[in-house]
Symmetry: C2
Subunit: 518 residues, 2 copies
């Protein structure tokens, strides 16, 4: 795609056609500037090959706000829309509507106000993660881009948080650029860093975000030397010559145990004699648990107990968990201390992180929850085939309740005029099952925290937080989760509840919608 085309494809026309046809309809019906409110939320945690997550990590807003900044229906965009024909060969979009789009550009989205849960925070299903308020047609046109920016980054930040947890906090590197959805992999690298990955091999995005990119060499380097009549050892020596202080050698081009590791040790000894400390080895194939133990034994015997052992090759949180489990059980019989080995492991995670393997999309949605009529908010409701899919109506607030241990015990959705911090007793209603609720005394709680923060108003985005701050939020939030919620397989289900008032409103609306429709 050339640069002109890219501006068309990634500018304000980065949207679905129906957003524009609906916007024109609202324009014709005089409803386009009617204040409306949309909630963005997801309905279920990702379930990786059936293993449902117990929490998600919110991400993506920073880049959405960048995209919104100065967004405009440029003359070129208007020309595109003007050229769109219906089945009868007539223009789909009228000049009046196109003039309105152009007349509100640049800064087309400046009339919106957005509240959101900050990036890096742990989040749960069916809670408003982003609340967009403003003219109906403007808020409608934002939908696709908002979902595109938030769904994917939240998906990857979540997967990264699981991987980091499974790696017991050891260094994890993101290697997925070649296996992502083209330029989307940059968003994936950002989300991976927010979610807990420590570095990425992606050079450009590392520099943009202020993280040092990481990488060593590929099999091809060894092959080049061998093709020219030289050996793996010569290739390793050449690498050590150029990178004596970052000498991390890929040892599985020929034979890991009989060629790669012995040759690496030879080079490490040469480096040590020259006063350099070798960095370590990487293994990208074979039985990584078994090979790690053997590599540790060989490196220990040669006097390199601190050399890192980097593992890569289709890793994800379950594979890492299994590798660590096997090492814990087997290392001792080879004379290797399991904990010492586990603490020198480093993980390179590619395909399965960047694609969120097992569940490659997050089903985040953007639903109308209220429209103003006569200066008053009227809650909107959609009666779906299932109670679970019926969104929570109206203008709302989101709270996190921490129990006496200061562990998060529930997320609570209230009406906009409710503040549970002021109540002595809080009733938590299950979002769909009328028989299930629990009551908490204020004294049972260590904290009630509001989660939504204003991020955009009158064309101004809030100051972007550094990635490190988002990482710190994630770390703090994950630590305040119950261990059961963090379990990789079959986690405990975190409570998401409604206040009694919101529950009552939802029931009333469902009833009246059902009556009107029958």
């Amino acid at each position: 795609m050339n640069e002109t085309d890219r501006r068309t494809a990634e500018g304000i026309l980065y949207t679905d056609e129906y957003q524009l046809t609906m916007a024109q309809l609202y324009f014709r019906a005089g409803l386009h500037v009617r204040p409306a409110q949309f909630d963005h939320f997801f309905r279920t945690y990702p379930a990786y090959d059936g293993h449902q997550a117990g929490f998600c990590v919110n991400a993506g807003m920073g880049w959405l706000l960048d995209w919104m900044h100065g967004a405009a229906f440029r003359p070129e965009d208007i020309d595109c829309l003007r050229s769109t024909r219906n089945r009868a060969g007539q223009p789909v979009f009228g000049d009046d509507f196109l003039a309105w789009l152009a007349g509100n550009s640049p800064g087309f989205f400046d009339s919106l106000t957005i509240r959101a849960v900050p990036e890096g925070r742990v989040v749960h299903p069916n809670t408003p993660l982003t609340v967009v308020e403003g003219p109906l047609a403007v808020a409608q046109i934002l939908e696709t881009s908002l979902l595109s920016h938030l769904n994917y980054q939240t998906l990857v930040a979540t997967k990264a948080a699981r991987i980091k947890d499974s790696a017991r906090g050891r260094v994890v590197m993101e290697f997925g650029l070649r296996r992502g959805q083209e330029k989307g992999a940059n968003a994936g690298a950002r989300a991976a860093l927010i979610g807990g990955v420590d570095f990425t091999s992606n050079v450009g995005i590392s520099h943009v975000l202020g993280f040092p990119p990481k990488g060593t060499h590929a099999h091809s380097m060894v092959q080049v030397f061998m093709s020219l009549g030289m050996s793996e050892l010569a290739a390793f020596r050449a690498f050590a010559d150029v990178y004596p202080d970052d000498c991390l050698l890929l040892v599985d081009t020929i034979d890991t145990l009989h060629s790669g590791i012995p040759n690496a040790i030879t080079v490490f000894e040469e480096l040590r004699r020259k006063g350099h400390q070798p960095s370590g080895i990487r293994m990208d194939s074979g039985d990584l648990a078994y090979l790690s133990i053997q590599a540790a034994r060989m490196l220990n015997d040669a006097g390199f107990p601190d050399a890192s052992i980097v593992l890569s090759n289709d890793l994800d949180e379950l594979v890492i968990w299994q590798i660590i489990t096997q090492i814990s059980e087997e290392a001792a019989r080879y004379g290797v201390d399991a904990d010492h080995l586990i603490n020198r492991l480093v993980y390179g995670v590619g395909t399965r992180l960047i694609t969120s393997w097992g569940e490659p999309a997050l089903g985040g949605v953007y639903k109308l929850v209220a429209v103003q009529d006569g200066g008053k908010w009227v809650p909107a409701i959609k009666i779906s085939e299932s109670a679970e899919k019926t969104p929570n109506p109206g203008n709302k607030r989101l709270w996190r309740l921490y129990d006496r241990r200061c562990k998060a015990t529930a997320d609570l959705i209230s009406l906009d005029d409710e503040d549970p911090r002021e109540a002595a007793r809080i009733t938590l209603r299950h979002p769909t099952d009328h028989a299930r609720y629990r009551a908490l005394e204020r004294a049972d709680l260590c904290e009630i925290e509001p989660l939504l923060v204003e991020v955009f108003r009158e064309g101004r985005a809030s100051e972007p937080a550094p990635i490190d701050e988002m990482r710190a939020r994630r770390k703090a939030d994950v630590e305040r989760l119950d261990a059961g919620v963090k379990r990789l397989v079959n986690p405990h289900i975190y409570h998401v509840s409604l206040t009694q008032n919101l529950w009552d409103l939802k029931q009333k609306l469902i009833e009246s919608a059902m009556q009107r429709s029958h």
Copy 2:
């Protein structure tokens, strides 16, 4: 990401760190301008939840060539690289190497020659889809971007071809923008069109590629009207007023059979009286096979046998196949002609196409196959843990053999100096199993077609083909596949073979590499 950062993240630093560290090593070893050849290929077909495809559709080269055009290590990029520090706090990249990168910019890749299988062609595993030849360090630095551009588009074009086939050639629309990997969804929409999808809802990319974007309305439109005290019927009427010639109504906001379809029929009758032909209905939830039959019955009874029935909601090739199967078996008992109904169905395919659900990445790789030494090409080989993963060495050509019915019967990889069209008898060797081969007489074949075409030389890319031409290639190639190869589940395995000479070379290299490594 702002515009300055985007140029850094999507320019020539859109790569993995190790490409640059290896390039510097080659530079220091005086090997950086040594002519080398890399093959791009994938090793296995995607297996969607275990259902392995029987063919792939090649895509992505056009955008890779756009990315390569004028690619440069700009001063800003050089500054990024200069700032990279090793563990000892010293610069990773030396001024000599950085000067070489900058000195060969813009047009950094202009010294490469690229041959490739054209976009839209059916392709198979372990065959060279792209062959890159040129200075070792330059070809190495291209790797990540090449894989990023080709892997994902080939993945989606393949999925789209399966979906189009399963839809029996009916109209399929791509709806996945909100569920892709952010801006990568634009590449997905392009690939979906190459693979067989007819339209996309993605506005910007539609205009860039010259396809009309498609879309109707969302549930939110009905909700707006209901929130303001009006009805679903009022919303439908408003839509019909603005779009009388494209009136496609979403009927499942409240109750598909008891509200949506009856209201749509009311509006369709009003449109007909005004001389317009209604377009149809869309259903996005519920049992789509059952509802399709009921919708057809109701629309037929009301005198709208030509109104389309658009289905959406997590569709993919297997879901569509099941819907069509159920309609075939059940429609008659409700007085609906199954074939007539199947021919009015239209499919909106979102998440499962854009993410290639079930196998969200194609494992395309880029492997060194030859290096020049003393003016002669020396084949390179990597001995992996499995024979299947050992790449085919050397400078090669790729051929497709068509049998007497003019169906594709095998892809044949030969050495560069071989032309099977000149042989009376061709031996096809299995790529790894020495006991398996077959012989074909030239008279058994209707055609032997070379598949690789030069697409880039001396800084000039070949004229890009229009998407329609790529679509035509795909259609023709899919028609020349045996039915068994196209089967969605458990397809017949297409033959990929080596010539006797290539087989002999590969065995010789494996043997000598094994000897050297032990």
